[in-house]
């Protein structure tokens, strides 16, 4: 009898556990590497895919292309010498490293930070979050083939980098938050110029909403794709926007307020669908929230006071034995520093807990089987992973 079903005898067999028995030499599978030299990969990492037709049956993340051995290098440096290299752990949002490291050192050494410095730190972190989300918005549109959003977003990010430059003197690596406070206060007229940038950003974001979030093709490509079961959030350590897209309002800023977040009023945006669409829209709304937070901070913060406490002689600075863990809500999820000191002038151990560590490894490997080759890039970008914080 004639059947519309294709002849499946040439197709690979499914094993008893519902998975394929992958034997490349049968010729039924193809090994396909995404990365490290691949435009669809977020940074220098690679995903090793085994595909059967257009379907991906297995995927493994490979990292280590960016490994510099930071945690080892920090053990060789005195506490103040660590400070210039910490920010280089994560490129698109370096300030979290500075804050977490500085806060950990301050806690173990018992240093008090002036109130205004805390406000400026919060401002810097929100500005960094703004930049990081801008990259993510451009990335998710770019992964689905819409390059123009990336152009706009990078332009706005450039404007924000100008404000960073005005405040800190550097575009990417600011080295601004150091143990004891921040390097300087706000320059004259900073608020007005910042407001200009924020307004431009809002204008562009309105356009993005029109072009991206009402677009039928975008909806079709993202809705229902890359679904993460909210039950898996705890076991896979999902935090940040990825969890908020699945209805769990996990946000360190709210759950365990640090710096001055308890003095700011905000609601964490939450979506329910837990697919690529929900993760994109959560980022978009979070970006709006960040703009609002920057305004609040600039309006509420004290100005003109002390921003730096005097440190002990940093050449002979010894911190007694102890350990601590400092966390904060980065644009990708919970970012943390685990610092162990042993009474000498050097840290005994610094461990960086980047949110991508769980998102890009175990979670991505769990999500990839069963997706289409075309969706892998979008899936990865929607998880918003940065490889340097996985391997340091």
């Amino acid at each position: 009898m004639f059947s519309f079903q294709p002849d499946r005898s040439q197709y690979p067999d499914v094993g008893p556990d519902g998975k394929f028995e992958i034997d490349l030499e049968t010729g039924k599978f193809l090994k396909l590497w995404h990365g490290p030299n691949h435009p669809g990969i977020t940074g220098n990492m690679s995903v090793e895919l085994t595909v059967n037709g257009d379907e991906v049956v297995e995927g493994y993340t490979h990292v280590g292309y960016l490994h510099r051995g930071f945690e080892k290098l920090m053990e060789r440096r005195t506490f103040i010498q660590v400070f210039p290299i910490v920010c280089r752990v994560c490129v698109p949002e370096p300030d979290f490293n500075e804050y977490c490291y500085a806060a950990a050192v301050e806690e173990l050494a018992g240093i008090e930070v002036p109130e205004e410095a805390n406000w400026i730190r919060t401002l810097i972190l929100e500005m960094g979050r703004f930049n990081s989300y801008m990259m993510a918005m451009g990335g998710i549109a770019g992964a689905l083939g819409n390059g123009v959003i990336g152009q706009w977003m990078t332009y706005v990010r450039d404007l924000m980098l100008d404000r960073f430059e005005e405040l800190t003197g550097a575009r990417i690596y600011h080295m601004f938050i150091l143990p004891g406070g921040v390097r300087a206060g706000l320059p004259e007229g900073f608020e007005a110029r910042m407001e200009e940038v924020l307004q431009t950003a809002e204008r562009y974001l309105d356009d993005v909403e029109k072009v991206l979030f009402t677009n039928a093709v975008f909806k079709k490509r993202t809705k229902g794709v890359g679904y993460i079961d909210p039950k898996l959030f705890e076991s896979y350590g999902v935090t940040g926007p990825n969890a908020r897209a699945g209805g769990v309002a996990k946000d360190v800023r709210k759950d365990s307020p640090y710096l001055v977040y308890d003095q700011l009023s905000f609601e964490v945006p939450v979506e329910q669908d837990s697919d690529i669409w929900a993760r994109s829209i959560v980022r978009y709304r979070d970006l709006r929230l960040t703009i609002d937070l920057i305004r609040q901070i600039l309006a509420k913060m004290p100005k003109g006071g002390e921003v730096m406490t005097s440190l002990p002689n940093v050449l002979h600075w010894k911190i007694p034995r102890g350990e601590t863990y400092i966390k904060g809500e980065s644009s990708r999820g919970e970012y943390g520093y685990y610092l162990v000191t042993d009474g000498s002038g050097y840290p005994r151990r610094v461990n960086v807990r980047g949110p991508s560590y769980t998102h890009a490894m175990a979670l991505l490997e769990h999500l990839i089987p069963g997706t289409n080759i075309a969706d892998v890039a979008a899936l990865m970008v929607s998880l918003h992973t940065y490889p340097p914080e996985i391997e340091r």
Binding site: P39, G145, Q151
Partner: protein, 301 residues
């Protein structure tokens, strides 16, 4: 039509004009795309420099005979398409080798380049090429269906398979264009047009974020130069067909330039703000929207 040797010189001249026009136009289109993103864009003569650069590269590698022939076939498709279609209506010089049944041959040439490329890229042995080829063939087949139906409807409408006669029937007033006399056919064919221009949302074949960059992954130096030439020639040749069939043809080069640019911009304007479909989504799209419109066009003729 009697054949004269001078036709070959005339055809070469057409080819020369169209290639140069294509070079400038595609650069202009890229500039427009850049302006949407807020950039200044490439210099208008960048395509020439890229071409010269690619020819100037010193080392070439090959993967076999078909790998050589792929770009050649592709270019043949473009040149053949152009040469068997009257470029300028009513001009002896730019009539090319148009003859009684040229519409069928044109349809064949539209597909010819893709097939040749598939063979060549397949031999390059890169998985991205192979995936790109299978995607490309599947999508082009689905996308060309409405065009085939549209062409059928047109030949029913004008009772001819000769493009020159079809153009002749559309002369006189703008309302004689197929666009107005038979809008359904035009819509059906425009589905095919947008679908085969390799721009978003139907550019999953090239998709740099997934299979960088599809079939031409392994092509470089002079092979790439050949393909670049085709990339500026083939779209223009294809647009010429659409222009002749649906938009009243062109009677002089100025009209040609404006019409080709306008029709080309249809796919560009759609492409610049749309993400791309997955391959099965785009096939479904053509079967769901393009095909019924095409069938309807035939029924209503």
């Amino acid at each position: 039509m009697t054949f004269e040797w001078i036709h070959i010189a005339y055809a070469a001249l057409t080819l020369f004009i169209v290639i140069n026009y294509g070079m400038i136009m595609t650069a202009l289109v890229r500039k427009i795309g850049a302006r949407v993103g807020g950039r200044y864009g490439i210099p208008i003569w960048q395509n020439y420099i890229d071409l010269a650069k690619n020819i100037a590269l010193r080392s070439k590698i090959t993967h076999g005979v078909m790998y050589y022939l792929g770009p050649v076939f592709r270019l043949t498709g473009g040149v053949g398409l152009l040469l068997f279609v009257p470029t300028i209506y009513g001009s002896v010089m730019f009539q090319n080798f148009s003859y009684a049944g040229d519409l069928i041959l044109a349809l064949y040439f539209v597909f010819f380049g893709t097939l040749g490329m598939a063979l060549g890229a397949g031999e390059s042995g890169h998985p991205h090429s192979a995936i790109g080829v299978s995607r490309g063939l599947a999508q082009v087949t689905a996308a060309e269906l409405p065009l085939a139906l549209g062409v059928y409807a047109i030949s029913l409408q004008y009772q001819t398979l000769n493009i020159t006669e079809i153009v002749a029937a559309q002369q006189g007033s703008i309302f004689n264009w197929t666009l107005f006399t038979n809008p359904l056919t035009t819509i059906a064919a425009m589905f095919a047009f947008v679908g085969t221009m390799m721009r978003s949302p139907f550019d999953v074949v090239l998709a740099p974020q997934e299979i960088p960059i599809g079939p031409p992954t392994e092509y470089h130096s002079a092979y790439l130069a050949l393909m670049q030439t085709n990339r500026v020639l083939f779209p223009v040749a294809k647009v010429v067909i659409y222009m002749n069939l649906f938009f009243g043809g062109a009677t002089n080069w100025a009209e040609f330039a404006i019409k080709v640019f306008a029709i080309y911009m249809v796919s560009v304007l759609i492409g610049v703000v749309y993400p791309r479909f997955r391959v099965e989504q785009s096939i479904r799209f053509f079967l769901k929207w393009g095909l019924p419109v095409g069938i309807l066009a035939i029924l209503t003729v």
